[in-house]
Symmetry: C2
């Protein structure tokens, strides 16, 4: 159907091997004839056959929970820029924060990629079977498996960032501090939760159990969490939301309930919102280098692809608290 290397060989009057050499950039005598034959036949090499033979696909898989999340969008951008130099192409796959979906996606990547950058949906001990089967380099992005010794990873200091947020709220005088956490089964969910509680504790403020709401990093759960928390008999005076998407949901709930920020409730969240600077008030957030985090993951991967066989490396990037307008002392302290 589609022209093959043999068709080109026939037209050019040389052997198949010569065409192959030409295609792979080696010097050949009949270059012009071959170029003409390729143009005439409309030939284009079959990637599948090429990969099957060579064992290299020149592709890498990037598997994330949600490409539309600004953090992952930025990280993917960092990966692309960093990987483009090597003429590797990228297959981007969504898992929707679902371990089952992730399993399917990884299975579909078996044999089709030379390496994987993965932000696991959950921190389960069970490393996905596909990852074992593939035997390709893997770099974990932003999240790990419970057994975190096997692969390279690029994380951020979630504990530190969340703790800084907690201390900041405590220092403003808040005592009734709430948290909308991500799933404790995923690295950022667990570590931000633990870091926040530890930070509050260290500042002499305990987080009451009823002030902890566990979401799933998606917008709706932030909405529900905020609704729940502000409906409490004694509502919190400050709220920390563990990621950007849940922060959006929470903000919508607060808006609906006419809760004023920061007058009625101080608000801090982890990760920037895309439109954060356009909101009133501007949001105090824990931030981190997003594009760089992706680029670093790509660069670790590039090392592996070059055959680096050192022990797995774990990189942890700094986070920082960007203080803006969404926090103030609680009403009783202001009064």
């Amino acid at each position: 159907m589609a022209p093959t290397i043999d068709d080109v060989a026939r037209v050019a009057g040389v052997s198949r091997a010569t065409i192959s050499r030409f295609l792979n950039g080696r010097r050949v005598r009949e270059r012009l004839a071959i170029e003409a034959a390729i143009a005439k036949t409309g030939f284009s090499p079959n990637h599948l056959a090429r990969s099957l033979k060579s064992g290299k696909t020149r592709s890498i898989g990037v598997v994330v929970p949600d490409v539309a999340n600004p953090f992952f969008a930025h990280a993917v951008r960092g990966i692309e820029v960093s990987l483009r130099e090597d003429r590797n192409n990228i297959f981007l796959c969504n898992t929707d924060e679902s371990a089952a979906r992730q399993e399917e996606v990884l299975d579909s990547l078996i044999g089709r990629v030379d390496a994987i950058i993965l932000a696991p949906a959950t921190e389960s001990t069970m490393v996905p079977r596909a990852l074992e089967v593939m035997r390709v380099p893997v770099v974990l992005l932003d999240r790990e498996f419970a057994d975190h010794s096997r692969y390279d990873s690029v994380l951020v200091d979630n504990e530190g960032g969340a703790a800084a947020a907690a201390r900041y709220l405590a220092q403003l005088g808040h005592r009734r501090i709430a948290i909308i956490s991500g799933p404790l089964t995923a690295t950022p969910g667990r570590t931000r939760h633990d870091g926040f509680l530890a930070g509050a504790e260290g500042a002499g403020v305990g987080i009451r159990p009823e002030y902890e709401y566990i979401g799933d990093f998606r917008e709706l759960s932030g909405y529900l969490g905020a609704k729940t928390l502000i409906a409490l008999p004694e509502p919190p005076t400050a709220l920390f939301v563990a990621n950007n998407l849940m922060a959006v949901g929470a903000l919508k709930a607060l808006r609906e309930a006419r809760v004023r920020i920061p007058d009625d409730l101080s608000f801090v969240s982890f990760d920037e919102l895309e439109l954060g600077e356009l909101l009133e008030p501007t949001l105090t957030t824990v931030t981190r280098p997003t594009v760089e985090q992706g680029a670093l993951a790509a660069s670790l991967l590039a090392d592996r692809l070059r055959g680096d066989v050192a022990a797995p490396r774990q990189c942890v990037l700094e986070t920082s608290l960007s203080v803006r307008e969404s926090c103030s002392p609680p009403a009783n302290v202001r009064a």
Copy 2:
């Protein structure tokens, strides 16, 4: 290296063909032995070899200018949901609004996918070579080629939506109306531009040339466009921005310049902003069914995959003007 079908055959004590049949769901006698052999060897079929032989990849390529754009993020979600039923997996690729990048991406997809959903970076007459070479079904999403007769496409009524926005502004009394347009070389850029001008014209308002700014659908160009327009000796009293990302940029510029919306400037844009309802004022926008647009593209593709060979279909979905708070009569009319 990795176990192959022959390894399984040896362990199970049957022929390679029997294993293949088993894998493809046919009845075989030694089923249990084969299952045991597969488990023991850790075998997983090689997709490459399978596809090379069968000519089917069970994958489809989705190529968009920017996965992080909320519109495309939604559309991709619609595609995924719609395609998941058929156990097709999706390779998502970014072109960064660049025709050159698009060419690379499409090349990399040759032979690796059974079909393509593409939102072309530009409306060029030159259909990318890779698309010809592949000979797979193609559905165009939201954008066409200049020669728009060849492929199925799912568009929206950009002219109508933009015209409605123009009429609305004119009816409010605006006479100095500006537009930040997308690239006129891409379908939505051109059609929204033309529709807006036609709509204004129809309402008896001409758009002065200096009130037209051509951007590239990305945030920075919206920022620059707004900066430029408000610096005019006689600045506009109303602004239409042709997509969501440029609207973000424009809003940032207006915020910086302390231009109040709608008091100093009425603001309408095309496509929702993810956080639109959290902004003050809420934004009047031209909207359309985003997830549905993706789902429809996927469904046209599914028809083709099933062997439907009818003439190319062009679907055009409705747009509508969601009037919210960002527009008011101009100051001179209010006074």
